[in-house]
Amino acid sequence: MTLSLSRRQLLGQAAAGLSLAGISGLAGRQVFADDSAVAALAQAQDWGAGPSALKGLPHFAPKAKRVILLWMGGGMSHVDLYDHKPGLEKLRFQDLPDSVRSGARLSSMTAGYKSFPILPPIKPFKQYGQSGTHMSELLPHIGAMADDICLINSMQTEAVNHSPGVTFSLSGSQVPGRPTLGAWLSYALGTQATDLPGFVVMTSTDEARTCGQLFYEHYWSSGFIPSRFQGVRFRGGGDPVLYLGDPAGMDRAGKRDLLDDLGELNRHRLTQVGDPEIDTRIAQYEMSYKMQSSVPDLLDIDQEPQHVLDLYGPDVKKRGSYAFNCLLARRLAERGSRCIQLMHSGWDQHNNWSYHLENMVRDTDQPSGGLLKDLKQRGMLDDTLVVMATEFGRTVFLQGNKDNPKSYGRDHFGRAYSTWMAGAGVKKGAVYGETDEFGYNVVRDKMHVHDWQATVLHLLGIDHTRLTYRYQGRQFRLSDVHGEVAKGVLA
């Protein structure tokens, strides 16, 4: 049995123009097609097969070729940083009116409260750039890029707690088990990276590790779509990718020899058993070898000139820091990754607001602003979408004892909060949506999590209602069965 025979057979089949699938299933019921065809396609586009997408995708010309998601884990305070409410200062420690509060679901930490004293933002706001967008004076670097940003002040989620909230934003369901944004994108659009994963996740935490927000693997899971689409986590210490390093005593040349011999043995077997999966396996082993040099190369930030490093601030050389990850995000974007998901946790300021919020801003403002600036200088902001998001905002009222500024903070709040987008296809220097004078209720252009998902997909050329995966008899979508593209965010 040789491969030349198989070629003849294949040609014969093509001429006959009919497969078993057609005969058995009739037209409406492609018994052998659906998943397997998708899987075969996916296999081809996976890992460095170059740009290749599902058939029919993107649905329309995309504005963005890739997305960098800056996830602020723990619930970033819209009240303190982004949603400008000048009237709050005068109302310090006065009770939030009942009429404002009615109906908002609070976490069990404050649901039993009898009074809701207003806590004004920690620092004044100021206007940034030509657009004059209001943001906290704590955000000079993000503010410096305000003219490229579309600030969204009307976010809304049903989730009251962290893990369900993050899971909801990234997968469309509060309960783990569904594919996440990056997995959907890799599945739909393939990757342009030739020797790096298409969906990369990097995590970091405030140095004091005050807040206890964990990074669950289901935040980058592929859920029920094939697991090759799940995010690959680059770790902040040890091997950046699990098992990337060769065993002690095995050098590159030795590994090369071993893989060559392994390949020969596998090819020999292929001639006997004919399973094309063997070819795939050989290719994946080769790719693993390439990754062993491409990943260290990616991490070698000494290649960057000082003025670029400076953009990201003093922590940039500290591996595992948010700043380092921001720089890596740009380097991955250059190398063709489709979705780069950075997660920085520590925003959960229930009781350490006064000093901790400023620490968090210090860790994230300059790297985030620097990333935007760096991308812009290189012209990459034209085809890269940068999104800053969080699972919910924080209450305008304080949690804890108002007489003890060292111990109070703000509770979780999903009824209104802020995120932003910048780059490809996004309206520049704009503010989308509005809340009431307390930052408590959305009064204009509500952006529900599902709308946000629909909008992100739209910018990548995907109609969120048409990107589906069939599982358990149902067509699943990132935006579940909801969501509208927020046109006001689009350039």
């Binding site: 049995m1 198989s6 057979q9 294949l10 089949q13 001429a15 006959a16 009919l18 078993l20 058995s24 009739l26 037209a27 019921r29 998943d35 069990s108 009251v160 707690n161 893990s163 309960v175 783990p176 088990g177 206890g212 964990l214 990074f215 669950y216 693997e217 289901h218 094939p226 697991s227 090759r228 770790r235 210490g237 091997d239 098992y243 390093g245 065993p247 005593g249 050098d251 030795g254 020899d257 071993l258 011999d261 392994l262 020969e264 043995l265 596998n266 006997q272 058993v273 004919g274 399973d275 094309p276 999966e277 396996r281 994946q284 693993s288 109609d463 209602t465 358990q472 008899g473 149902r474």
Partner: protein
């Protein structure tokens, strides 16, 4: 060769038949196979079972609905509204509507027309009526067939003008069946014995040996643990450890004892409700306490409790019924005849558990929630009560000290700077647990006074508390089910626990057979009903999953869904026959396993011919045996077994084999406990992967493609990515196993060493070409290590075990490298 010529002929015949539509015209339309899938996919979303979402008051999922409004007029396609609407070009009239993104192909339109022309016959969904044993086909391949399975397979192959493949050789067979039944490769002696056994039933003897092996239960437990979303921790923040592993051992033992599947079902769902239920039966119900348990601060307990209930309904429906009931949590199911009421009527059966929805803290490490069963040994129990006694005594001493101190304060003999406390002591001079004041005083005393006064009593309390904590870390309290807290169950509007609507009683879905009148209306009634003879789904769902174990894919590929949107099985008769056989054999799983693995179908070669690849890439007709990548659990176990490192003991607490050392560091964020990975030493490094501690938030890094153990998972995936290659090439597990394998073969003659290693992994000898390649590879590695013996030593020091110092370092390192290659061969990580 013969297969090939037949296929080519078949192709020619097919080509003669011409186009697809010609094929359509030559056969009768079958509603279930051909029509309902089209209607379901394209119409039921708006014209199906969900009344709230129905458009134009038209439903097409029932006979009455189809006949109403002239939608379908039998025999008159041109007058039928359905046909008019799918043919019109008018976007306002057109069905499916343009904005639905659903499209009919011309062939589908033609099929619908033909169906109506043929009188528009209607019947129910095949999987919703109880299976009856189909007659075994009689056909020309009768001589090939070894049992009824083969007759069904052969009949279908006849229909496609295909032949079965030849039988695999003995070496392939014994490796295949050993991996399939025990998850372990055969030992060389077992291969030799099989090769030497010329008896006609030599293979059956091997099968019986494997079915009786204690490793059978370990292997069969794995997919069940995936379905039962079993883990050793709760998930979420803190991710506290649990004692659910005791239930894992129950599952292994149940499979080994071949517990009938009906009993297996009833005990796990409702063992606690059986009359005079045993400890083991109560333990079995841990099944439905395996869900994620959220201990995050700020979570709303009642919301979390409802999440647990939803999980139980979803897992029960998927695992036994093959139904996706989750859709009906918010509204009537769009496709299947499941109403929202059905959903909550089933949920009611799980709603009486005395639980509050959150994870309780047992110790720093362990977080579990009531109800729990105490499975400690008598020694542990005695130790616990002894420690509790000592602790109480120590606390009593403290209390006496406190009383004395309070007296001194009152007498003014002891100065207390906090006036508020003095005032409290005045109001409450002796400790009185019923008073808040007393608690405040105690706290003050504990924190401020004891240390300064006389630290001994407090140290004593601390000491006993620590000892008790240590004991509790090791004291098996397993979360199980109980109906001790009856609650009312309501339909929840859009699944929102804050919007209860009509009250419902425990019941089964209305479209399936009802609970017998005398059945108890509780979990036990539901459990018995799941395995009742007339309940159409369970036997099919389980028979399909058993088939999937051996063929990689189920006969119904959508193993998790047997509803209307599921895949219409090509081999429906075979599936029904297997389902009836399973049910009527007294739910005898080993019997079904034995039937399958002794069939001629199973024994075929797995060679993929180009024609088969083209015609039947997924091997749905079984004209060959399947060939697929092994689960990652088996890949590791095989490496350990082949190298002789494997420790074969069964059961017990989870172990912590090699993982990247900072694997749990991301969890350390909570500061609540030490999340250093507690790497095992000695034997525990080499236990089967089944026993590896499964932390739900960070799964073991080398168990790729495994279920995440978060939701019910009944289908495995086997993908191929560079990350897997990195794992099996660089993980110390495999490097150490390669060294052990090399060490094992070093006593052989030099030219035989690698061949013996090769055979230990692949169960066959290398052919001449392979021997030459192995020798060439060895030579390269030897040259390299000879030039750098330091590297050789480093390479041999991976893993906890020590290299055999008597062996030449360079030789051993070179052999180890090649053995690592052997463990990474495609054939090694595949089952063929």
């Amino acid at each position: 060769m013969r297969t090939h010529s037949r296929l080519t002929l078949a192709t020619a015949l097919v080509a003669l038949c011409g186009s697809l539509s010609a094929a359509v015209q030559t056969r009768d339309v079958d509603y279930g196979r051909d029509i309902r899938p089209i209607l379901s996919e394209n119409c039921f979303y708006c014209h199906g079972q969900d009344a709230s979402h129905r458009k134009g008051k038209l439903r097409l999922d029932t006979l009455d609905g189809q006949r109403a409004k002239d939608a379908v007029i039998p025999g008159k396609p041109n007058d039928s509204e359905l046909i008019k609407r799918i043919l019109t070009k008018d976007p306002d009239e057109q069905m499916p509507p343009p904005d639905s993104h659903r499209h009919l192909t011309d062939a589908q339109r033609e099929l619908l027309r033909k169906w109506i022309t043929q009188g528009a016959p209607f019947d129910g969904h095949w999987a919703f009526t109880a299976p009856v044993r189909p007659e075994e086909p009689k056909n020309r391949s009768a001589t090939w067939a070894r049992n009824p399975i083969d007759r069904f397979v052969a009949a279908k192959l006849d229909g496609y003008d295909l032949f079965p493949s030849v039988a695999a050789d003995k070496e392939t067979l014994i490796r295949r069946v050993s991996l399939d039944l025990t998850g372990l490769p055969p030992e060389p002696a077992e291969i030799d014995a099989f090769l030497a056994d010329m008896a006609p039933n030599a293979y059956e003897k091997v099968v019986d040996r494997l079915l009786a092996s204690p490793h059978y239960g370990e292997r069969m437990a794995l997919p069940w643990l995936d379905a039962g979303r079993y883990a050793d921790s709760n998930g979420f923040q803190q991710d506290g450890d649990t004692y659910q592993w005791v239930w894992r051992d129950w599952v292994v033992q149940a499979f080994n004892a071949n517990m009938p599947f009906d009993q297996f079902t009833i005990e796990q769902l409702a063992g606690d409700l059986l009359p005079e239920s045993t400890r083991e039966q109560k333990l079995a119900t841990a099944f439905h306490r395996n869900g994620l348990l959220n201990g995050e601060g700020g979570n709303i307990a009642e919301e979390q409790r409802n999440v647990l209930l939803f999980d139980r309904v979803d897992v029960t429906a998927t695992n036994w019924l093959g139904l996706t009931m989750a859709c009906a949590q918010c509204h009537d199911h769009k496709y299947d005849p499941i109403t929202q009421k059905d959903y909550y009527a089933l949920m009611a059966a799980f709603n009486n558990v005395p639980e509050n929805g959150t994870a309780g803290r047992i110790t720093q490490k362990i977080r579990s929630a009531d109800p729990m069963i105490d499975l400690a040994t008598p020694e542990q129990k005695a130790k616990k009560s002894e420690l509790e006694k000592s602790l109480n005594a120590a606390r009593n001493v403290m209390k006496q000290e406190q009383i004395a101190w309070q007296q001194r304060v009152l007498m003014g003999d002891d100065a207390v700077s906090d006036d508020a406390i003095v005032e409290l002591i005045r109001r409450c001079p002796t400790p009185d647990l019923s008073k808040d004041e007393s608690e405040k005083i105690r706290k003050y005393f504990d924190e401020k006074v004891v240390g300064g006064l006389e630290s001994r009593p407090k140290a004593k309390v601390q000491e006993w508390e620590n000892k008790l904590n240590d004991l509790k870390d090791d004291y098996p309290m397993v979360m199980v089910m109980s109906d001790a807290k009856p609650r009312e169950t309501h339909i929840l509007e859009r699944g929102n626990y804050e919007s209860p609507k009509a009250k419902v009683e425990i019941d089964t879905p209305g479209f399936l057979p009802p609970l017998p009148p005398d059945a108890p209306r509780n979990r036990l009634g539901i459990a018995r009903w799941l395995v009742a003879k007339d309940q159409p789904l369970t036997a099919r769902v389980i028979a399909n999953r058993v088939w999937q174990t051996f063929f990689g894919l189920g006969i119904v590929k959508t193993a998790e869904d047997f509803g209307i949107q599921s895949e219409a099985p090509l081999h429906r008769e075979l599936l029904d026959w297997l389902a009836v056989e399973l049910r009527d054999s007294g739910w005898d799983l080993k019997h079904l396993d034995r039937l399958i693995v002794t069939s001629a179908t199973y024994r075929q070669v797995s060679r993929v011919t180009p024609s088969l690849l083209e015609h039947d890439p997924e091997n749905r007709l079984f004209a060959r045996a399947p060939r697929f990548r092994l689960p990652s659990f088996f890949i590791r176990d095989q490496a350990l077994a082949a190298s002789g490192l494997l420790v074969r003991s069964i059961g017990g607490r989870p172990v912590y084999p090699y993982q990247p050392k900072d694997i749990w560091d991301s969890l350390a964020i909570t500061k609540e406990r030490d999340f250093t990975y507690p790497l095992s030493t000695g034997q525990d490094l080499y236990r089967r992967s089944l026993y590896t501690f499964w932390r739900r938030t960070v799964a073991p890094a080398n168990m790729f493609d495994a279920s995440q153990r978060q939701t019910c998972s009944v289908r495995t995936t086997a993908t191929s990515t560079p990350l897997h290659a990195l794992t099996t090439l660089n993980d110390p597990t495999f490097v150490e196993a390669a060294r052990a394998l090399a060490t094992k073969v070093m006593p052989e003659k030099p030219e035989q060493r690698l061949a013996v290693a090769f055979r230990r992994v692949l169960s066959r000898w290398p052919d001449e070409a392979e021997r030459a390649l192995l020798a060439k590879s060895l030579e390269k590695q030897r040259t390299r290590f000879a030039a750098d013996s330091k590297a050789a030593e480093a390479f041999l020091s991976v893993g906890e075990s020590k290299r055999d110092a008597a062996l030449d370092v360079v030789q051993l390192a070179a052999h180890t490298a090649v053995c690592l290659g052997i463990l990474n061969l495609d054939e090694a990580v595949s089952r063929q």
